[in-house]
Symmetry: C2
């Protein structure tokens, strides 16, 4: 029943190919880190926490076949290749940093030990992500009344993480704690994560879900159909600005206008204190074909100029609270995020 | 070169099937008013002014074959059938009202004369719509600086009218008056009028156009890429609230936050003084399959609940000006619209 987004199996990384959902459930086994990097770039797997796990497993996979004398050069190549896949996801760099730390601290113990420790670290990142989601889910669930109609965007579910989910983790925790919850999700063009992935996850869990197009959010809020917004995050800056899937900002602006609380859910591994504000977060620009074609068919004349920024920045002043595995961060974010991250 | 959205030809109504654009340019000939009604409902033709023209031609077509003794009953059936097609478009009811007035005032002149006069009235509505667009285009073009990057939504072009267009009429008039203009258009899910129709029209005119998904508007405004928004309208209430394609409201909210002027362009036939505010405008709810399927393929699991309101209401306080063939209406709309409509 549980969604198996990514697994480590017999020195292979196995991923559910999310591009084919909800039509087909295809699991792909990878034995080469460059294939893992391509899978991340091509969105076989997506969602910042899941990307972090995939990158960590990619490193563990990459070193399996590396010979002793090339180890330093090869592992740097592996880090570089994986780091170049998706520029916005904080968890990608955070996970690679954790892997690098193991490598640097333990290399004196010998190559085979380092290989084992890197695999263990990747699995630890995987396990910790699920644990963090369960914890943040509980904190988030406490913020929301029963019954609630919660709007979410994109997919911040089990498919975007090692399991359980961030925004959908909050939803799952609400259900587990006996709260009534109904989810509204926009389809999230161009990749349709809302329609394809979130609707699929929630239907499996028998949580009521209603699908809308991205441009219907204003209509719903005008008609008082949304009690709260809960979204995930790809990177949280030190001032509380949040990079998340394109369209998040517009929803936050509407939520503010209609006095709907706007919550961001994510593990502390999504927080990047080195970015002082959202302006410093690199925004990935993806291939125009993701917009111009659907199911391989063009939706617009050939040669039309196309934009495809994959993320936008939501100003911290539009955010009611940020929910992590350590608790709930409320404004003023500038000071509270720093304290929160350092808190044990 | 000019787009032939709808024509009257040898007692047939000929329409360009907009569902197939931009891939195919297919013209369909209708000789039965019920087929015209179905074409309006199924969006072979769409856009409030074009719907008005199609309905008027539908009446003229419907009476061609009606025998004298059934005339009163039959024409009522024709009016009823056409009035039921699209509930939001003011121009539909306005056009049917004009046709009814001819019928009531001229019936004493005999059936054959009434039939001829109804055809003439439909053609007059067609011609007047183009003339109104050209006029409002000129008024609108004066409001916009050169160069301007204008965001539009959906299609308020030649395809949405008898020709030339309302929002795109303003764009065309800018170009004709030598102003530099670049258009940004969102794809406008679920029917993709922006991607399919507006991009197609503008490409034909060699006006630079950039396509984005509906959820990228906030990103563009954050990056100061939009100088003005110009959209069409399906109905304008007496207080200036505007019903237009779903998503218009969200764009207006973002425009306000970023101090981007938000203009609505439409002929006075879109103004409905009988609706005191937007709350009184009926919002059409369309088939869920328009959202759940693209090119006949599902984008979401079977059985997911789906919303598909076709329009939303933009509060008058978010609108900088309404541009009609009589000039530019500025706030306070409550009083200025009434004066404007009565003005010769």
């Amino acid at each position: 029943m549980a969604v198996k987004t990514i697994q480590w199996k017999n020195n292979h990384v196995v991923m559910l190919d999310q591009r084919l959902l909800p039509g087909k459930e295809v699991y792909r086994a990878y034995r080469d880190y460059t294939e893992v990097a391509r899978a991340i770039r091509d969105m076989v797997i997506r969602g910042a926490p899941a990307i972090g796990v995939a990158a960590a497993m990619g490193v563990a996979l990459g070193v399996v076949w590396v010979k002793g004398k090339n180890f330093d050069r090869e592992i740097e190549r592996i880090f570089r290749t994986l780091a170049k896949t998706r520029p916005t996801a904080a968890n990608l760099f955070w996970a690679l940093e954790r892997m690098r730390k193991i490598y640097i601290e333990k290399r004196s113990l010998g190559i085979e030990t380092v290989k084992r420790l890197l695999k263990e670290e990747a699995l630890k990142i995987f396990e910790e992500d699920i644990a963090a989601n369960r914890l943040l889910g509980k904190f988030g669930a406490q913020l929301l009344r029963s019954p609630s109609r919660v709007l979410t965007h994109c997919n911040a579910g089990a498919l975007a993480t090692a399991g359980y989910g961030t925004a959908l983790g909050v939803i799952r925790a609400m259900k587990e704690s006996g709260k009534e919850v109904e989810v509204l999700v926009d389809e999230t063009r161009p990749f349709l994560q809302g329609a394809r992935l979130t609707a699929w996850e929630l239907k499996k869990e028998k949580i009521p879900v209603t699908l809308l197009t991205d441009n219907m959010v204003g209509y719903l809020m005008q008609h008082s159909k949304v009690d709260a917004v809960v979204v995930g995050c790809d990177r949280v800056a030190a001032n509380g600005d949040v990079a998340n899937k394109i369209g998040t900002y517009g929803i936050a602006v509407l939520a503010r206008r209609h006095n709907v609380p706007f919550y961001v859910a994510g593990p502390t591994s999504s927080i990047d204190l080195k970015c002082s504000s959202g302006a410093e977060v690199p925004i990935e620009q993806r291939n125009s074909r993701e917009v111009s074609h659907i199911f391989g068919r063009p939706i617009t004349p050939r040669g039309v100029h196309i934009l495809n920024p994959a993320f936008d920045i939501t100003d911290h002043e539009l955010i009611s609270a940020i929910i992590t595995e350590k608790g709930v961060i409320t404004p003023p974010f500038q000071q509270n995020i720093r304290t929160h991250v350092r808190h044990q």
